[in-house]
Structure formats: C-alpha cells, structure tokens
Symmetry: C2
C-alpha cells in the first residue's frame, strides 16, 4: 500500500467551501478537440446563454495560429463579445508570447499559458521543454507589465498526474514547475489532468502540496473524465479547499489518445455535484441543461457526454442558494 | 450553506483502507432491470469468469416469484454453480421469508433483504411499509436460526439518500431503520442509493453516522450512477472506512424512472478507481474488461455504461498488490 507517512490531511466534507466556480472551457478545450467548426454566431450565443445561466468565467478560445486550429480562429471576436457581458471574466489560452500579445490587445481578463509537466508530452505537443515554456511565461509577464495591461497570467500545468507518452509524472517535478511558473511571473497556477490519469488519492496528495506552495495563487483544477473519475477527482480537490474547476458543457473534448472517450468534466454534472453538496455555484442548472441541448444539436455527430441531461435533476433538488 | 455544526470527520485520503471488495451485483441488480433474459449457461460463464478475474463476492440472483422476474428464475441453478467455486462468497436477494427459505435451502452464504427507507417507494415497490419489512426480517432470522443454517442476513436500506416518489428521505429515519434491522436480527446492514440521488457530502454525513451505529456490521455501500456520482460517492464512503461496494459489470441496470440512464457503478471503473488509489481489490482489471466485452455482447441492444472499457488502463497502471 502506501509505505510513505501521511503528508496531508483532507478537509472534512462538513467543511466544504461555501462557494465554487465552474469555469466553462467547452469553447476552447472542447471545440479544439472536435471536428465541427462552430460558427462565430453560435459561439456568441453559447457565451450569452452561459452567462445568462450564471456562468461568470468562460474561456472563450485560444490565440493559436488559425492554420493549426481553425476551430478557434474567431477567438478575438468571441472575446470581444464576452467583454460586453456584465460581470463576465473572460479568459483565453495562449501558447506563446505572440498569442499573449493578442490576448492583451483583446483585453482578456486572464490568459492561460499551458505547460506540460511530462517532458515527452511537452516536446510532442508544444515542441518545447517545460523549462522553455517557463521562460516564455517570463517573457509574457514582461510584455504584460510593459503594456500596462491588467490581463492576469495563469500558468497551467498539464499532464500533472501522468501522461500517455511518458507514463508517470513525478510529484516533485510538478511542484518544481509550479514554483518555476510563479517565480517567472505567473499570477495564478493550476493543475490539469489532461489525459484522465488522475485518481482521488493522487489528486489529494498533489493538490495539498500545491496549495501549500502557491496558496491563494492556486487557481483551478482541470479534470478530464477519460476514465470516469473527473467528478471524484474534483470532489477530492474541493475537500482541500479548491474552489474553481474547469468543465465543458456536455463534456465535449475527448482525448486524442482514446477515441470516443470523454472530455472534460461535464459542466452540468459538475454543477449538480457541487450544488447537491451544498456548494453555491450561482448556476441555474435547468438553464445549463437547456443550453446543453442546443449545443449538442449544433454539434450533431460529435460525441457528447455526461449523465444529468438524461436523468434530470432529482425531484427534491434545490439550488444551494435557495436553502 | 450548512448552518448545522459539523458532526463528523472524514478519514484523510492518506489513510484509505488497504483493501476493499467490489461485490458483483450485475447478475441480480443489473439483469433484473433489463429486458434480455440471459440463459443460465451464460450466467454461469459470467460467474466463472468473474471468479477467475478475482471477484470473491457475487450476488447471483434473487429468490422472487419467476412470474414477477423471469430474468432471475434460474437463481437456484446459478447459486449451485457459484458454490462450486473455491473461496466464492455467494449472495442472493430475498424479498420475503419464502425467498429466504430458498436461499437457506440453496446454501447461500448471505441473503440480502431490501428495505426502502422511503415509505412511498416501499409501498409502491414492496407493498409493505418499512416497518413491515423489518418484521419480515425478524421472521427470516428466526427461520434461519431454527434451520441451523449459516446463511448471513443483510438488511439493505435503499432510497437512503432520497427517492423519486417521495423526494427527501430524512437521515434520522434511515438511521432508525438501520437500528431496527439490527435489532430484528440482521447480521449486516447496508445503504443503497437506489435512484442516484446521493452526493458525496450526503454520503459522508449518513455513512459516518451509520458506521457509528452499526460498527463492523455495516457491510456495503451501493451507489447508482444515474447522475454520474457513483464513484465520487464511493470515494466519500471509502474515506470513512467503508471497504465493500456493490457494482455491476458494464454498469448495467439502469433506473426505471430515468430511461437510458446508468445503473450501478460499473465494476471495472470502480475497480480502477480503488486500485489507482492504492486500495487492493484483488481484481485483474484486464480480465474484467475482457469479461465486460463478452457480457456486453450477450446483452446486445441493452444500454451499457462505464468509461474504462473505451479508454483503457493508463499506460503506467499497476495493480496495488504489485507495488
């Protein structure tokens, strides 16, 4: 079993956070992984309806070269629309300084710079070592500060619980990279289970140490449901006080290494788990389910996931805020 | 939020149980809920292969009148085969004294008597109040003792976290019924989320109190995946020291109130979660996945569930016992 002594304690479930945020990443992590190219008008409608359902943090796209990811070529337009919605905190993914300059120019509230803790995955996907990505984040920070922009910088460490190419990713290496990102100027850091290798025990172990290191600068947990554990993993992080989780409506996204497998945690299922546990998300779940039905219609032929859309809310369900 | 003071503490994930048992209930809870009637020879092959994959507790069927549940009419035959397998602990469901007499006659290692904590559900499904079910368990205990049989009696409290008909089911009522079952002579008691209304917070709250009341006589957690939370709920119970969980291969079973929805936790997914968390199950997951493929073939046309069969084990996965 576990021969090493316990290094952390979980928060009792009775002391769960009062509130948590579900950050919608379906428009970025979801759409980038599927074939269908959603028209800008539908993306804008998605953002509008998600905001109306209570979502206040949305990752609207990615500033990558359009030839690499034509699905997200209209990110600047979607971002411009998102900025018109009151109280919406709009983020974008940026792979490098060039993308960051576009995020700053577009007035994103936050830009996420992904780093893969797996060297093999980093080289294969980003053609950079993790430390080269850290250095790029330093250049992004310098550019952001020089511009006077208020766009926050999040360093997102992916494949944090393992990787299809490399297998194990060691906790000390993940922690080293989190610290390196903070030292290079990241305002926030996050952990992502990019390929669905995490489990609740491993989440608890790593997140507890990440929280000790980063404190309030630890921003978000990102759990893929490839092997069915996204919600159990989110619950394990929630117990430790994590209050922000990425999710994709209808669980879209998938995994290039596991055809047909689930993508991110499904927004509507995660929202249900949180609210059922008494954690206020501010979300209108029936409105999310209605939006899910529309988005699933736009993405006809693509795999969608999740369970709540089929089963419906329990008959006695009440949002936490109504208790 | 939660205005009542905390009443329990979870076990730290670092102190998870070293071992846990996945009790296969696909042959009972799964098959009773679907149209296909599996031939006895296939059920026997399922039991044989499950045993070969390391499963040591299997609920082989239910002693209900065949006209009510023709799918399980051959329970005595399957039980007789199960008893030939070394080290296999074979259980059956019994709805009443008549069923219990057949379980005793067949030499079942354990018989599960279901009780629904929801009065509305109990009347609709069993045509008895919960307290009438408790009284029947007392008669079963008397018959078992008079026969000299060693068949254990488990009182299984279903709809323990709510019910589609009644909505809320109150914790004090569930605890009262658990105690009443123990007082009436149950050797073991269990809790079941029959309709997928539970959440990790509610599981933690109720299981902690059930463990205080029943101690080692608390036997098993049974979580349906109707709303995607079966594994998160199992993880919450595991943290408190629960070491036995019901599951159905391929998640078969469904929910009569939610067409197409998932049934029980999928055996193979639950086994993966436990093993990935370092909890030894004794299970050979690749063998379970191979069996899943065969059973899914036998049940062609029926809804199957789960995620691991599609994504496969992580490339770096090792069973806990091999660490």
């Amino acid at each position: 079993m576990h021969s090493t002594p316990p290094v952390y304690r979980t928060t009792a479930l009775s002391a769960l956070p009062a509130r948590a945020i579900v950050r919608e990443v379906g428009l970025r992590d979801g759409l980038q992984s599927i074939q269908t190219i959603l028209p800008t008008a539908q993306k804008i409608e998605w953002v509008r309806a998600a905001h109306a359902a209570g979502q206040r943090e949305i990752e609207v796209g990615s500033f990558v070269p359009p030839r690499l990811m034509p699905q997200l070529a209209d990110t600047a337009d979607v971002l411009a629309f998102a900025k018109t919605l009151p109280g919406l905190f709009a983020s974008v993914l940026v792979p490098n300084l060039k993308g960051a300059e576009r995020a700053i120019e577009g007035g994103a509230d936050l830009m996420v710079m992904p780093l893969s803790a797996s060297h093999a995955h980093s080289l294969a996907n980003l053609r950079k070592t993790p430390d080269e990505v850290v250095a790029e984040l330093g250049r992004i920070r310098a550019a952001r500060d020089a511009s006077g922009s208020r766009t926050l910088i999040e360093g997102g460490v992916g494949t944090a619980w393992g990787c299809t190419l490399q297998g194990d990713v060691k906790v000390p290496e993940v922690l080293r990279l989190l610290q390196a990102l903070l030292d290079a100027g990241a305002d926030r850091v996050s952990l992502a289970d990019t390929v669905g290798y995490a489990n609740p025990y491993g989440v608890s172990t790593l997140v507890e140490q990440a929280l000790k290191m980063a404190g309030d600068r630890f921003f978000c947990g990102h759990f893929h449901d490839t092997r069915g554990l996204a919600l159990a993993n989110a619950a394990a992080a929630l117990q430790l006080g994590v209050t922000r989780f990425d999710a994709s409506l209808a669980g879209i996204g998938g995994c290039p290494h596991a055809p047909g497998a689930s993508g991110n945690a499904a927004t509507e299922d995660l929202a249900f788990m949180l609210e059922a546990c008494g954690v206020d998300t501010g979300l209108d779940i029936p409105a999310l389910l209605a939006l899910r039905a529309r988005v699933a219609g736009w993405l006809a032929g693509e795999a969608t996931h999740g369970t709540l859309w089929r089963a419906g809310l329990p008959s006695n369900f009440q949002p936490t805020a109504a208790h």
